[in-house]
């Protein structure tokens, strides 16, 4: 069970003066139950890539398969396969439209042809995942909510479609630290419970390091690195630097401490790991 991206290339506005090669021979595979971060600068091709993963765009060359089915097809199987991939765009609250939160979240499941009972169950479960109390919020207008709450409604609208794979484009953009942490803890809850394959598109190395098991690093339309986060932040520093990409703050701070003579071990990907590493290095706590 996986999304397979098989040697795909894509060019915007081919054969015109504005021709722009957005993707060049990209291949990778994301299994169900995996949490992957897709990182790269603006214009690296990561958004174009994301739109290939649920069939909004089709590659010029190569193919994308979901659970073995090529998304390019026009048959039922291809349509079903596209439906297995949920996509949360940037600023998803900008696509809310219905009169009530319930109706908005129910839009996706209804389009999937679910029965009213199934829709109701899907909406309730999705709202629970994003911590919106059904009795309080279901009949309210989505437009009276705060920015962070609106985003949670929008995410629930995708989660309610019960996708096997979930792509999220910068779900924390513009949110303050509390709302950001809320969104991520809810996302991790859904991820663990449903065992989906998650692809998180982000600019933040801290988010990537904290949540993802594996990183995909894009630049100039090509996939440059694909591997476990810790390996990449330990062994591929040169490549990251060449692509003018950062490492998480905790990795930088660990480097500085090492330079000052502290015998710190490993690559601490998060604050908690860094604290433990320091304590160990200083002999402050028994391992």
């Amino acid at each position: 069970m996986s999304i397979e991206v098989d040697h795909i290339s894509y060019t915007y506005m081919a054969h015109t003066s504005l021709e722009n090669k957005a993707l060049e021979d990209v291949s990778f595979r994301v299994d169900k139950g995996e949490f992957v971060a897709l990182i790269g600068h603006t214009g690296s091709g990561k958004s174009t890539l994301a739109e290939h993963l649920n069939g909004l765009l089709h590659p010029d060359e190569g193919c994308v398969r979901v659970d073995g089915v090529d998304l390019k097809g026009k048959d039922r199987a291809a349509k079903e396969a596209r439906g297995k991939v949920g996509m949360v765009f940037q600023y998803p609250e900008h696509q809310l439209f219905a009169e009530t939160i319930y109706e908005d979240i129910a839009f996706g499941p209804r389009n999937q042809g679910k029965s009213p009972e199934e829709v109701d169950a899907a909406v309730r479960s999705a709202m629970a995942f994003v911590d919106l109390d059904y009795d309080v919020f279901a009949s309210r207008s989505p437009f009276q909510l705060s920015g962070g709450q609106m985003r949670r409604v929008a995410i629930a609208g995708v989660v309610a479609m019960e996708p096997d794979y979930l792509i999220m484009d910068e779900p924390s953009a513009g949110l303050d630290p509390v709302s950001r942490d809320n969104i991520f803890s809810q996302l991790m809850k859904i991820f663990h419970k449903r065992q989906m394959g998650v692809i998180l598109i982000t600019h933040s190395m801290e988010e990537a390091a904290q949540y993802a098991d594996r990183l995909l690093v894009m630049s100039g339309g090509k996939l440059h690195l694909d591997g476990p986060a810790r390996d990449i932040f330990t062994h591929d520093r040169e490549t990251l630097e060449k692509l003018s990409m950062d490492v998480p703050e905790s990795v930088k701070l660990a480097d500085e401490l090492r330079q000052q003579g502290l015998s710190l071990k490993g690559t601490p990907l998060t604050e908690a790991e860094l604290i433990r590493a320091i304590e160990r290095a200083k002999g402050w706590k028994a391992c």
Binding site: Y12, L18, H94, Q95, F97, F107, G108, Q112, M161
Partner: protein, 268 residues
Amino acid sequence: MLTEITLGQYYPGESVVHHLDPRTKILGVLFYMVMVFLANSPLSYGLLIAFLIAATALAKLPPGLLLKSIKPLWIIILLTLVLHFFTDPGEVLWHWKVFTITKEGIIMGIKMSLRLVLLLLVSSLMTFTTSPIVLTDGIESLLRPFKRVGVPAHELAMMMTIALRFIPTLLEETDRIMKAQMSRGADFSSGNIVQRAKNLLPILIPLFISSFRRADELALAMEARCYHGGEGRTRMHELVYQKRDGAAAFILVLLFAVLVFLRWGMPA
């Protein structure tokens, strides 16, 4: 993709026609239109066509470009031609069942469709050589004297400026919302007309809401930058007539005089 639509049909260039004052071009086009209706002989139409060809050459526009602007209206032009062919009374040239073609019909048909083509071409010549922004400045400046009789010249120009600025942004936004709703299984291409219109709501409502939000924020930003209507406002580019505008006006007036002479001055 929606975002690839270019606004207007401005063809950037540095020719003398491009650099003419927009007011000269707007008034010139209006004047030319009057002349199109004044012309009544093959010679006067020839002169009008020659003027257009000369102006296009001066503007250094690719010849095919201007002709393309006829495309959206070719059905109307053809219809004009055909209707006149078959319906005008006069000397019968050809007859079959209910269809009759007359000599007067042919002449009238050619004349009317030629007029349409000329009107279309001359206004395209203006939009090809004048950016929408400059055109807005020209319209504002021309309307300013009518402010006293209640024409909101500045407000109209401001609206056009903001529209020009935000149309590409809103097209991008539409594209984004469409993709998002398609990912949620929205279907925009099946069902009957009522169903299809209803299916558009998930795009239109977010688009409206976002436009209102943008309008709100823009109004605030404009206010913060001391905007308070057209009163006491200055412009970075004040429009100033140049020698070339005088020359253009002279040529047009000359053409007008010749056409007037051809119509009324010639002994029958």
